[in-house]
C-alpha cells in the first residue's frame, strides 16, 4: 500500500488538520507520500519533509495552484494518483471542496469523513449527523478518503527527513479565479484547535452579547463558537458555526450558552470531553449531553462565571 496525503497550507504553513489525516494514513499502513501544491511554497515543503514517517514530499510549485482552486488541484491529484492505493485529505472546507472532484475524475467513490480505519479497505464514517455510524468497505482500486480530524491524533510534526521531489505537472484549467478572502478571526484562538470552546446560541439575543463569552474565552485561552441559529441570525460570522454542516470539534471543555441543542448542533460538539450547558430551559436537549448543566438565565450566570474565573 502507498498512501498520498494532500497537504493543506497557505503557502507558508501547514494546516494542523493535515497531521490528523497523516495519522489516518499511518493506520492504513504502508508508505506515506505528501503532495504540496501551491505557489512559492518551498517553506511548506520543507516543513512537510520533517513530519515523522514520511517517505517523499511531492511539490507542485506553480502560480496555478496559488489559491488552491479545486479544478486545478483535482486535475493534479489525478495526474499523480496512479501510483497510490489511498489518497487522503483532512475533511476541512479545503478537502471537502477539491477531493470529490478528484474522486469523480478517477471514477472512484469517495469515503467522506472517516472516523476509524478498520482495515486497508474498510472504514467507519458517521451518517445522519452522527446519529449512526456506518462501516463501509471499498471495492475501488484507489481509495479516496476525507478524514474527520477529531478522531485521529496529530502526527508528529518533526523527526522525519523525507526526500523532496519537484513535480512539473498540471494544467491551468482557467475555470475559476480567486478574488479575495475576508477573515474576521484576528488574533483570536482558532476554533478547531482550541482546548476550550465557549459557544453561544439564539439565547444570546444579539452579536454584542457575544462579548460576554469572549471575555470568558480570553480568561480560559478558549475559542468562541456559535450555533447555527446564532450565525443565521447574524450575531456572529459563519466560521464560528459548530455543527453537522459547520465545524466538528472535540475540545477538552465545551461550554454551551443559550444553545438549545438541535440535532445538527450536537453533531458538531458531542465528542467534546466535558460539556457544560447553561440554559434557562431545563427541558432543552443540550442537557441530555451535558456533563454539567446549569439551569439559569445566562445574563446572570455568564457575568457571574466571568467574575469567578
Amino acid at each position: 500500500m502507498t498512501n498520498l496525503v494532500i497537504v493543506e497550507h497557505d503557502n507558508n504553513e501547514i494546516a494542523i488538520a493535515t497531521l490528523n489525516a497523516i495519522t489516518a494514513a499511518q493506520q492504513i499502513g504502508g508508505d506515506i507520500d505528501l503532495l504540496v501544491a501551491g505557489e512559492s511554497c518551498q517553506a511548506v515543503a520543507d516543513s512537510a519533509a520533517q513530519i515523522a514517517g514520511i517517505n517523499k514530499v511531492k511539490v507542485a510549485d506553480n502560480p496555478m495552484f496559488g489559491h488552491h482552486m479545486a479544478e486545478n488541484l483535482a486535475a493534479l491529484v489525478v495526474d499523480v494518483a496512479k501510483s497510490y492505493s489511498h489518497i487522503l485529505v483532512a475533511a476541512t472546507t479545503f478537502g471537502k471542496n477539491m477531493m470529490p472532484r478528484a474522486s469523480a475524475l478517477l471514477d472512484v467513490a469517495q469515503i467522506s469523513e472517516i472516523v476509524e480505519v478498520k482495515s486497508a479497505d474498510t472504514f467507519v464514517r458517521p451518517i445522519y449527523a452522527g446519529n449512526a455510524l456506518a462501516t463501509v468497505q471499498s471495492a475501488d482500486a484507489i481509495k479516496v478518503i476525507t478524514v474527520r480530524t477529531i478522531k485521529f491524533e496529530a502526527a508528529a510534526a518533526t523527526g522525519g527527513s523525507a526526500e523532496i521531489e519537484a513535480i512539473d505537472s498540471g494544467v491551468d484549467t482557467g475555470l475559476s479565479s480567486w478574488i479575495s478572502q475576508a477573515v474576521s478571526g484576528g488574533d483570536k484562538v482558532e476554533l478547531t484547535s482550541a482546548n476550550i470552546v465557549v459557544s453561544g446560541g439564539r439565547g444570546m439575543q444579539n452579536g454584542e452579547n457575544f462579548s460576554m463569552l469572549q471575555s470568558i474565552a480570553d480568561k480560559l485561552g478558549a475559542a468562541v463558537g456559535a450555533s447555527r441559529a446564532a450565525v443565521d441570525s447574524g450575531f456572529v460570522a459563519n466560521e464560528l458555526q459548530v455543527g453537522q454542516t459547520g465545524k466538528v470539534i472535540a475540545p477538552d471543555l465545551y461550554i454551551a450558552v443559550g444553545i438549545s441543542g438541535a440535532i445538527q448542533h450536537l453533531a458538531g460538539m458531542k465528542e467534546s470531553k466535558v460539556i457544560v450547558a447553561i440554559n434557562n430551559d431545563s427541558e432543552a436537549p443540550i442537557f441530555q449531553v451535558a456533563d454539567y448543566g446549569l439551569v439559569a438565565d445566562l445574563f446572570e450566570a455568564v457575568p457571574e462565571l466571568d467574575a469567578a474565573l
Binding site: 470529490p100 451518517i127 475576508a182
Partner: protein
C-alpha cells in the same frame, strides 16, 4: 438559460435517526421525509434568478424511487417549472448520482446547476463537485452569495477561515450553504398549481450508465451515548466541579 436544481428526499432534519436493530441501516419506514434543506436554498436561488430575468426555466431533478415524486412536487410548488425524476429503487452513491445528473444536464442543455452542499442523511458532501468534474465545468461550493455577471459568476464561499470570494466561468455547478437565502413558504394555491406542472419519469436503466455501487455497507450502528451528567445548583458549584472534579480549567 435553463437552471437545473438537484434535490434529494431525506429524513426530516427535526427527526432523530433510529438505527435498525439488525444493523442494516437507518429505519425510514413511516418516518417523516422532506426535501433536503440545502436543496431548498438551491431552488430558491434558481427561482430568484428566473424572477430577475437571468434564467428562462427552472427544472428540478431527483434520483430515487418510492415517494421521490412527492419531493419534486414540493419543488414545483415552490415555483420550479417542471420536474425530472430518474426512477430507481437502488440507493445510489454520489458518484453514480453525479453520472445520472450529468446525463440530464446534457439532455436539457442546462447552463447552470445549483445543488445543496450536503445531504443531511449520508452527509457525503460530494455530488455537486463530482458533477462539476464530470461535466468539465467550473465549481464553487458552500456559497452564501451568488451574482451572475454574464459569462462569469461571482460567488462568496463559506470556508473554515471566513469568507472567500471567487469568480467562476459559466457554465458552472454551484453548491449552496444555508445562508444564501431564505426559501419561500409554499401556499396552498401553489400546491394545487404544482399538480398540473409536468413531471417526466426516466427509468435509470434507459440511461445506460455504470451506476454500480463501489462501497458495501457492512454495518450501521448507533454511536455510544454519553453518560448522564449532573445539574449544578449555581455558578460556584459549576466552577468547583470544572476545577476539582473534571480538572479542565
Amino acid at each position: 438559460m435553463k437552471i437545473l436544481v438537484c434535490v434529494k428526499r431525506v429524513l426530516d432534519p427535526q427527526v432523530k435517526a433510529r438505527v435498525k436493530a439488525d444493523g442494516s441501516g437507518v429505519d425510514l419506514a413511516n418516518a417523516k421525509m422532506t426535501m433536503n434543506p440545502f436543496c431548498e436554498n438551491a431552488l430558491e436561488e434558481a427561482l430568484r434568478l428566473r424572477e430577475a430575468g437571468s434564467a428562462t426555466e427552472v427544472i428540478v431533478v431527483s434520483v430515487g424511487g418510492g415517494k421521490t415524486p412527492e419531493t419534486l412536487r414540493h419543488g414545483l410548488a415552490m415555483g420550479a417549472d417542471r420536474a425530472v425524476n430518474v426512477v430507481t429503487e437502488e440507493s445510489l452513491e454520489p458518484l453514480a448520482i453525479a453520472k445520472v445528473l450529468k446525463a440530464i444536464v446534457v439532455k436539457e442543455a442546462a447552463g447552470l446547476v445549483l445543488a445543496g452542499k450536503q445531504a443531511i442523511d449520508d452527509d457525503s458532501n460530494q455530488t455537486a463537485q463530482m458533477l462539476s468534474a464530470l461535466l468539465g465545468w467550473s465549481q464553487s461550493t458552500f456559497i452564501s452569495n451568488f451574482t451572475l455577471d454574464g459569462e462569469t459568476a461571482t460567488t462568496i464561499r463559506e470556508v473554515d477561515a471566513g469568507l472567500e470570494t471567487i469568480t467562476v466561468k459559466m457554465p458552472a455547478v454551484i453548491s449552496v450553504d444555508l445562508r444564501l437565502n431564505d426559501p419561500r413558504y409554499v401556499k396552498l394555491p401553489d400546491v394545487m398549481k404544482a399538480k398540473r406542472k409536468p413531471m417526466e419519469n426516466i427509468e435509470l436503466d434507459s440511461l445506460g450508465l455504470d451506476t454500480a455501487n463501489r462501497l458495501t455497507t457492512l454495518e450501521v450502528v448507533e454511536p455510544e451515548g454519553r453518560a448522564a451528567g449532573v445539574i449544578v445548583a449555581n455558578v460556584a458549584e459549576l466552577v468547583d466541579k470544572l476545577r476539582n472534579e473534571a480538572k479542565v480549567i
